[in-house]
């Protein structure tokens, strides 16, 4: 199961249901190293959920997420025809279909059945038999990456900053590098100080989160994630909780990051940022990607009526 693709993140057939609320309904996309993907869409359309599925803060209902060709989620049997074929469900359906084949070839029956099983969600983990289970296990064990390890490579910045309230700024930044990357305190603090200087907050090292402004908190939150040397950074509306006069300073840090070649996925309502910094803009609505394009094309030639409608409201 080696994918030749060099995508940094690959999302395949992602569905997420909260009970009967079907939030994501089949999202597939690839994000390459160096891309700055800006995700926009109406509120409640599933942008945060999409982002949180990438690092498994939400567990997808169906679908797979791959990071650097390693599987982050569990195996989704519906994405593997060879797995479906081994299932008891498939085999019993196949037998009965073949009995009344009406001249269809085995291949035709198979294609029809796999489509039907996918569409109607007919598999039941518990009753699909040994062969099915062992192939599932094989695919998983050959490809998976431990979720905590994956998260070390995926930095995340939240709308509400979420700095650790019990720790000073310097400890906020050094905690994960020390405990997870096993850096010595002196190394971790050196790294933290360099990062703090870059955002002009070196003098706040000993302060506590509650003593900082929103803009300062968010810049620290970005730096805290960067201290882990992640391969990709996720931003979930990083400026939405800020007073207007502080939005600029946070966007500035993000722009610099993009300029340095960081791979970024940014959910935001800042269309200026999308235009200026994005390499691709993705429009999510009704739980699917309605449209995606380069910023220039995206904003000058929106194709779907939904997107045109959305843009007319926000621009």
């Amino acid at each position: 199961m080696t994918t030749e693709k060099k995508a940094l993140i690959k999302v395949d057939g992602l569905y997420k249901y909260f009970g009967s609320n079907r939030v994501l309904k089949g999202i597939s996309t690839e994000i390459d190293a160096g891309e700055v993907v800006v995700v926009i869409g109406p509120s409640g359309s599933g942008k945060s959920t999409f982002l949180r599925c990438l690092n498994l803060l939400e567990e997808p209902t169906y679908g797979e997420v791959w990071l650097e060709n390693k599987l982050v989620t569990p195996v989704d049997p519906y994405l593997h025809p060879d797995v479906i074929e081994l299932s008891k469900t498939y085999q019993s359906l196949f037998a009965s279909e073949k009995a009344k084949s009406n001249g269809r070839t085995d291949e035709e029956i198979k294609a029809g059945l796999i489509a039907k099983i996918k569409a109607e969600d007919l598999l039941n983990e518990k009753h699909e038999g040994r062969a099915y289970k062992s192939l599932m296990k094989k695919i998983y064990s050959e490809n998976y990456i431990n979720v905590n390890l994956a998260r070390q490579k995926i930095g995340m910045v939240f709308q509400q900053f979420n700095l650790f309230a019990n720790l000073s700024i310097i400890d906020n930044i050094t905690l994960a590098p020390m405990k997870l990357l096993k850096l010595r305190r002196s190394e971790a603090e050196q790294r933290a100080k360099t990062l703090l200087e870059r955002i002009g907050l070196a003098d706040k090292a000993q302060a506590y989160p509650s003593q900082l402004s929103g803009g300062q908190k968010q810049r620290i939150a970005i730096v805290r994630a960067l201290a882990m040397n992640p391969d990709v950074m996720l931003f979930d509306e990083p400026t939405s909780a800020l007073d207007p006069e502080m939005v600029g300073e946070v966007l500035e840090v993000m722009k610099e990051l993009a300029k340095e070649g960081m791979t970024m996925v940014v959910v935001t309502h800042e269309m200026g940022f999308a235009r200026e910094v994005g390499t691709r803009v993705v429009f999510i609505d009704e739980g699917v990607i309605q449209e995606e394009n380069t910023p220039v094309e995206f904003f000058s030639n929106p194709e779907s009526p939904r997107l045109r409608d959305f843009l007319s409201k926000v621009l």
Binding site: P74, R151, Q160, N162, F164, L180, Y208, S210, Q211
Partner: protein, 244 residues
């Protein structure tokens, strides 16, 4: 008036001075403090453990159940044991638990104070567990998610981020638990432990006068509780003022 005063001082001498009986009270008070203090510590240990198991199960049970495996089963069993413990401890009187501990479970033990510490500690643990669980739930979930998003596993996130914040929230309540225990241990006399209450009662039995020793015992509890409550109040205000 004079007679009354003479009577009082005679009573005082009889109950506290003669035979150095005041020392019984001092000794008893010491025992009460020891039992309450160590039982609180034990209660906190049990409480943290149970609260962690229960809120882990609450938080991750759903996704764990979907994956199946031995870990889920162990957690499920641990969760059920915790619930059973909480039900039994909170559903039976403290005195009965103490009697069972002393006369059945540790019946060959001669170390009454230790048995009392264990007994009150196990009892207190059930209440402290719920205090902690409430504390854990009142820590903003964003703190937890930020920890996980950096790559910390569940336990690390709890230890480095959530539990320190939870302790700050519940510290005043924990101190109150100590105050409650201080009073509750007064039933230790049931199993022959000479705590403060029992000391007063022993003096009463010896001097055949109830008023002085029992009022003295009550006053000691009262003064200590008032002082501790004041201190908790100060602590509470301090914690509220410092945001970190």
């Amino acid at each position: 008036m004079k007679d009354w005063f003479a009577d009082i001082s005679a009573q005082f001498k009889l109950n506290f001075i003669d035979g150095n009986r005041w020392q019984w009270l001092v000794e008893g008070f010491r025992t009460t403090l020891i039992i309450a203090f160590f039982a609180t510590i034990l209660g906190i240990l049990i409480g943290v453990l149970i609260a962690t198991i229960r809120s882990t199960y609450d938080k991750t049970g759903e996704s764990l159940k979907k994956r199946g495996g031995i870990g889920v089963k162990i957690f499920g069993i641990a969760d059920r044991i915790c619930k059973l413990y909480l039900t039994v401890i909170r559903g039976t009187p403290m005195v009965v638990q103490l009697l069972i501990m002393y006369f059945i479970i540790f019946k060959s033990s001669t170390r009454g104070t230790l048995v009392a510490i264990i007994s009150f500690g196990i009892n207190s643990g059930a209440y402290v567990a719920e205090i902690f669980r409430g504390g854990i739930m009142s820590v903003d979930n964003g703190q937890f998610e930020a920890g996980r998003s950096l790559g910390f596993n569940y336990i690390q996130t709890m230890i480095y981020i959530v539990i320190p914040q939870m302790f700050k929230i519940v510290l005043p309540t924990l101190c109150n638990e100590f105050i409650v225990l201080l009073k509750e241990t007064s039933v230790a006399g049931y199993v022959g432990i000479r705590d403060l209450t029992k000391a007063g009662d022993l003096i009463r039995g010896r001097t055949f006068s109830a008023f002085m020793p029992l009022i003295a015992v009550a006053l000691i509890y009262l003064v200590v509780v008032i002082i501790l409550t004041k201190l908790v109040g100060i602590l509470e205000r301090r914690l509220r003022r410092s945001d970190h």
